[in-house]
Symmetry: C2
Subunit: 324 residues, 2 copies
Amino acid sequence: MSLTEWEEGREFPPKGTFIEVVEVGSRDGFQIERDFIPTDRKIEIINGLIDSGVRYLEVTSFVSPRAVPQLADAAEVMAGIDRSKGAYLTTLVPNLKGAERAAASRADAIVIVCSASETHNAKNVNRSVAGSLAGFGEIIRFAHDAGMDVVGGIGTSFGCPFEGDIDPQAVLDLAKAYADLGARQVTLGDTTGMATPPTVRRVVRLIRQELPDLGIRLHFHNTRGIGLANVLVGLAEGVTLFDSSVAGLGGCPFAAGATGNICTEDLVYLLHESGYETGIDIEKLVKVARRTQQVIGRELSGQVMKSGQRLQLYDAGAVSTAAG
Amino acid sequence: MSLTEWEEGREFPPKGTFIEVVEVGSRDGFQIERDFIPTDRKIEIINGLIDSGVRYLEVTSFVSPRAVPQLADAAEVMAGIDRSKGAYLTTLVPNLKGAERAAASRADAIVIVCSASETHNAKNVNRSVAGSLAGFGEIIRFAHDAGMDVVGGIGTSFGCPFEGDIDPQAVLDLAKAYADLGARQVTLGDTTGMATPPTVRRVVRLIRQELPDLGIRLHFHNTRGIGLANVLVGLAEGVTLFDSSVAGLGGCPFAAGATGNICTEDLVYLLHESGYETGIDIEKLVKVARRTQQVIGRELSGQVMKSGQRLQLYDAGAVSTAAG
């Protein structure tokens, strides 16, 4: 399918539409950092994001501290978050024990994850897709009884580093399984940055057509540089929730030096400049991004935090230029 | 104007359309490098690009060696280029003397540049816009007499770091002046990365409407991370020529650490994945990008050269993953 086929069925949200930016940096970003980030620095960054207007965050994972030592402080982080502004806090959980810890931390929602690719799921959680789904019923029932929403995470939705292309039907089947189990939202994970305009369009269109009441979050990685182009495609298909990571935190386990999730402040810049609203103060957000880079201690991939805002003007007497 | 308004008048080129990727790295990229890149390294990179299938290159500038010492070897570089594959070689020239040097180097075309912003033009070339245009007649006549095409460069087409927003009418006026002087193509320079989906759409639509016979190249910088999203918008408006820089060479004189031109191999990846043809072998191109990074001696911003191709598959037994 070529871009031409955007002609049919596109439905960009109208100007002024609120687009929900879902911050996932403290979960998907922090987890790949080798050096432990002090708990109070994590809390400072998350509360900075909330202060800048971010209202939907995937805060952490309640996974085994042995598996991911960086997130061993998940409960302390959750306890330190400013809830006075109505932030909606989700946490990733791999099993019932994780869901219990999430409930104890007063999470608003849990995210459970299964890959559309059998090989990736086996590698990631040592289960078949059917095996993962079989375990989810109990977790979801527990979550609902505890008053938590459930988001169904679908890894490798746009391609798998072991299997290659993923049949959109496999993504739809998983989305349908989640919906049948009571999830009202799925997040389509571009786990290793394989999403492209045609794959995004195909998968989103299929799910929206077959499961019109299911909420869709798009979770893009910028591994191959086209994450924000994919956001435009998602918008064109009517999606209004996008996952991103402050300062471009994160990486790719398959490619040293490759970038991770799309960058929150660059996404917000694109959305605002394109006529959408996010409720986020981008100046404050950029300060949090710069602070995040300082805490991490190496250059991160976000661009707007380096360039400044579009209409930040310069004194013509003070700067030298170059043609072009 | 919001993205919604893509609904009206979009005309993506059909699947399989040839999109011309114009390599500008050896001009717009090299010129900001402080350390002199040996002439034979420059030639090696340019010939590598041609070998990978690139056919339209902005090779160098015939500017004063005192002003830009990095490009003092412009004539030697031109002399070393492989012309056996039919590459179309353009060079930037600031004045008649530059055009004479370009002709002596057997350039196929010259690029002349004027900014849509009076303040930027004054700062860049110490002339008013009218003053620049007054000098162009003689240069263009010389070029045509010498058998060279002329491309009209329009700097700050999507915003100026001194003046802010640029009236699309000012860009149209310059494009019209170039057309009246005999140029058949303009390149719309996003000099400091201020282009956004609505600014791109407005300017391109106006020029295509008023000057339907004038060719349009879009020259985006990725300063704020949305360069490839802007490419999608340009495609949606029917543009089929895009400037880019191998490995993401280049930078921004206003922001240390900000990226430069959009990256050639990331652009080619986006185009191929979206159903377009470029005539470029991306595997060969990525090798040239990695070699370019090695020659420059620091990490450049290109992503595909770090991540590898989308369908480069991994052995599930050999790699550890992380959820999400």
